[in-house]
Structure formats: C-alpha cells, structure tokens
Amino acid sequence: MMDEIRIIDVRKNILSDNENEAEIIRQDLANKNIFMVNVMASPGAGKTSLIIQTLRRLKKQLRLAVIEGDIESTVDAEKIQAEGIPAVQIRTGGACHLDAPMVTAALDKLELSRVDMVFIENIGNLICPAEFDTGANLQVMILSVPEGDDKVLKYPLMFTVSDVLIVNKMDYLAGSDFNLEVLRRRAHELNPRIHIFEISCKTGLGLDEWCSWLLEITKNKIMS
C-alpha cells in the first residue's frame, strides 16, 4: 500500500505562507490606525529621494517611520535618520526582495503607538518585490525617465500589482525619447486603476500634488 504511487491534490498558492502573514500585518496595522506604503523601483530610480521628499512634506501632519530594505549597506537608513524620522534597516543579506516576515520583524522595532504612517523602501528591482506581499496598504512603483517607457512590456506583473506609478526624473525628459503618452497608455491598459504622478525629486515638480493625494487617502484610511 505504501509503495503505491498516488496523486494528491494540493491546490495551494505557492506563496500562501507569505500572503497569510501579510494579511496579519494589514489587520494589525488597521487596528493601530497605521497606513503603510510599499515603495518599489529599480536601483537608482529614486526610492530614497522620493521617500525623503515625501517625509519633508508630510512630517508636520503625520507621525512617520521608514523601513529600509537593503542587501548589505545601511546608507539609506542613515539618510532617513538625518531627517529626524525613525528608520529601521532590514539587511536581507543577498535576498532580492522584502517579504512579510521581514516586515513583521522590522515593525516590531518601531514604536508603533507613535506612528501614523510607515514607508517601506523595498529592494531595488522590478521583479521579486512584485511577487511578495509585504502587508502594505498602498503599492507604489517608481519608473524614472532614463529607464525608458518600455518597462511595462518587460515587467508587466509590477505594473499590475501597483496602485500608483510615479514617473520620476521628469527633468530628464527634454532631449530624451521617453514618450509619456505611450507609457500612460501601456500602464493603463494593464492596470486601469493605477494612479500616475509625474515628478522630479530634483526640481520639486509634482511633489506637492503627490503628497496631497497621499495625505488625503492616508487620512481617510486611518480616521475611518
């Protein structure tokens, strides 16, 4: 009997353990009236810059904290702390994304009773962070102009899981062959619900608009 070959049905999501943990995080944050934003992008697209610019504009209205994912270094967490905002560093030691258990461990290190909003700076790439739910309420991806408008074709999953697409480095648009209309069309075809903001962390273009939108949805969420 034991040597008989049998087929058994499993029908389970491969990442169900991670997804269950992410749901627990979301529930816990909801109970504590905290809103969490997961920022994903390629290396150099401007994740740290966007977070710092957003912190500066929102720190008077909200109590903020940042979880910094980094493969080895701690430079990004140091930049955030220099802004006077609590930051926890997760060093993944080579792993290319953050997952829900890592975020749980990082949240435990923050004084959550004094926080309204947490930013997660995910590891820089457009593949794995799309696969692993971190428990965040809002998924934000950044695409910078020098990367090109064809990234929707190469990394479609990232565009389907994101609620917001931030086009950064708009100051590089002049003289480039980046076509904003084409990018908007491609992104909306794949994800009609995606909100698109065009910004430049360097010149400040579009940052107030992005921050007012973010503040509005955060207030709605944590005060409801």
């Binding site: 070959i5 058994i8 499993v10 389970k12 491969i14 994304h97 696969e131 064809d150 075809e189």
Partner: protein, 116 residues
C-alpha cells in the same frame, strides 16, 4: 535568488502535504504558473534539486503548466489573450473595447503531487 525563495515555498508545501497524506516520498510536483510570473522551469528544478537533498522530495521532478494572460472584456463579456511582450495596443478583438479585466496570467499554484 528570486527562484530560490519561491522554490523553498514549493518544497515546504510538498513535504507538508506528503506527510499529511502518509506518503514516503515525492515523485513529481505539478505547478500552475501564469505567464506573467517571471519563473523558468529549468531554474526552479535546479534550485529544487539543491535544496531538497536528503528530504522526502529529493529527486522529484517539477512539471510546470503555464497559464496564458487572459482578459475578460467588460463590454461584450468575451475573453481574449494577448502577448504582453509585443508593443501593441491591448483591446478586445471581438468588439474593440478598451475596458477589460485581467482574469488569468498571475497564477502561482502547487496543483498536485505524485507521491508514494
């Protein structure tokens, strides 16, 4: 690294379900993976062979059934597929509508196991 993290989850699920069903070892694992997932069968198998050594799943063969990207048109309610890697406008081939929902292509499932 991406495939490695995923492969660890596959191994964990395979061992749990084999144990629950009083099996001794895993012969093959059947996955259903949407075209939108960036996973290659060869790499999953290679990582799996490495991490499953000295477990009940050592030597198991991974089979992948790929699921195409399918949209459901909100206007005519017909389904259609498209190649996302090609740069062309996505619209319903039946009624030319731009209003549709993604219904498949993101699957990531351990469907069944062959055990003894």
């Amino acid at each position: 690294m991406h495939e490695l993290a995923v492969t660890k989850s596959i191994l964990k699920l395979a061992l749990e379900h084999t144990h629950q069903n009083h099996g001794e070892c895993v012969i093959s694992i059947f996955l259903i993976i949407g075209e939108m997932r960036n996973l290659e069968q060869d790499w999953i198998q290679r990582y799996f062979d490495y991490i499953s050594k000295e477990t009940a799943a050592e030597g198991a063969v991974i089979n992948v059934k790929k699921v195409p990207v399918i949209f459901l048109c909100k206007s005519c309610e017909k389904q259609f597929t498209t190649n996302l890697k090609e740069d062309k406008k996505i619209l319903c081939p039946h009624c030319s509508s731009f209003e549709y929902d993604l219904v498949s292509g993101r699957e990531f499932i351990v469907e069944k196991l062959e055990i003894k």
